[in-house]
Amino acid sequence: MKILNAIIAGVAQGSMIALVSLGYTMVYGILKLINFAHSEVFMMGAFFGLFLTVGFGLDTSPMFAGVAGTLAAMVLAGLLGALVEKVAYAPLRARSGGRSNTNTRITPLVTALGMSVLLQNLAQLLFTARYRSYPQLLPIENARTIVFVVAVVVMIALQFLVYGTWFGKAMRAVSVNVEAARLMGIRTGRVISMTFVTGSMLAALGGILYCLSQSQVYPTMGVVIGTRSFVAAVIGGIGSIPGAVLGGVLIGVIGELTKLTPYSGLQDVIIFTVLIVVLLVRPSGLLGKAGIEKV
């Protein structure tokens, strides 16, 4: 029974991680870039959620404040994600002029690390480094169910966005051949921006759901959860949307099961061990496409 409970909790926790993983995997799919700043967008999203939920009037109607605050925070985080892309990555792409060599891969990667540090420090400057408690909108036993249901609904919506809309088709086209996509008349810059917006909105939602069950917000929260989400995306097969979901759930369940043992402190050790084993057996991740990448 204990194990069953842990698995249920793990799936809920994991679906939250998966929401963040999706942002990593979508951006990688389209740009072959690991957007390290994504974990900080997650953290910023949680802060936006906190301030906006309080701002919308927590005392008068907590339900409205929670929903409106979450939606507004998602919009803000989406804008932040698009801004990061515009300011940091788009100019590098323009300079490489579509050519691909080692530098066009390494430079954006280092820039992404830089953006991550920048945003984290900016958060400490703006919000101070102290831990803030997140308003407890839901009774803790319901929080898990809500987190799980919201995550599943959002993932179904994302599936529709990617496979059922013009934008999704354009996104998948840009991810394999930017030049051919331009010849179709697709504004590739806009598609890339929208991918960042979508991923960032999901990250903000993940951040707020995380806070609903953990109830604390702080500027370095992106490091722990961001890393786990990134590992989830890699385990599932980076670039694969179902892979990110699978990886997220797997990590969530592993985390909760570890808590049953006396070694709960070793959660991340186990997660990384799983990562290494998966990569040894399937280098492209569980659901990733094996194959030689054409450059």
Binding site: K169, A170, S175, N177, A180, L183, M184, G185, R187
Partner: protein
């Protein structure tokens, strides 16, 4: 192929007058002068071929017209409008579509999704359905495979898909880059027959082709490119009988 574009008027140029004019076009990239001032024109309704050896600048010319490469000097004029400041993304709205060398299909998408993306510039449901029917009549093999993932098609089928996808935009002018490259001879004939039918229906075609014999057979006029310059031009029939062309490109 009779359906007009849903929201773009037909070209102003009359049949037999220049639709595309390239004037003294020079292009360099990577420090190499790929084109050293070439001039050519394509009249409305014609198939015009560009032939020449590897590296003569044929693909560069098409890519520059399609606005994928920057112009160093010279002018490109399409139906009375300067294409210089136009971006590759908006060219399709002018009515010009490039079928790139190597086909450039989206292998992870289905054949139908590839076709739908070709209609990105109008996204009109009814025009998509109609054009798909036209395109399937032209390439029955594509019709049999609409639900298949495009990456599983053979090379020849992928080339057909690439042309079909370009037609989905309802272009007035088609730029074709090496449609016979790496394709089984039997399918090459099918593809060129389809190109001829596309032209008969009124779409103007500028064709780049290394297979000189085919290019001269199917085109009305041709330009011979040599190291970034136009070495010769004229009626395709005359060029096919030209001793110099025979020796250099037709294997004697």
């Amino acid at each position: 192929m009779k359906i007009e574009h849903p929201n773009r008027p037909a070209p102003k140029a009359e049949a037999g007058t220049p639709l595309l004019t390239v004037d003294n076009l020079a292009v360099s990239y990577g420090g190499i002068k790929a084109l050293k001032g070439i001039s050519l024109n394509v009249n409305r309704g014609e198939i015009v071929a560009m032939i020449g050896a590897n590296g003569a600048g044929k693909t560069t010319t098409l890519k520059t017209i399609a606005r994928l490469l920057p112009i160093s000097s010279g002018k490109i004029n399409y139906d009375g409008r300067d294409l210089g400041p136009v971006s590759a993304e908006s060219l399709v709205e002018y009515g010009v579509s490039l079928v790139p060398e190597g086909r450039g299909i989206f292998p992870n998408l289905t054949v139908r999704e590839n076709l739908e993306l070709g209609a990105w510039n109008h996204k009109s449901k009814s025009v998509i359905v109609e054009t798909e029917m036209e395109v399937v009549r032209l390439f029955p093999r594509i019709g049999e495979r609409v639900k298949q993932v495009a990456g599983t098609l053979s090379g020849g089928e992928q080339q057909m898909l690439a042309i079909a996808r370009a037609l989905m935009a309802r272009p007035a002018m088609l730029l074709l880059d090496e449609p016979s490259l790496g394709i089984a001879p039997r399918l090459v004939a099918d593809i060129f027959e389809a190109v001829a039918r596309i032209a008969e229906a009124g779409t103007t075609i500028l064709l780049v082709e290394q297979n000189t014999r085919l290019a001269l057979k199917y085109s009305r006029r041709a330009y011979v490119l040599r190291t970034g310059e136009i070495a010769m031009s004229g009626n395709s029939k005359d060029l096919a009988d030209n001793e110099e062309i025979k020796a250099a490109y037709l294997g004697g």
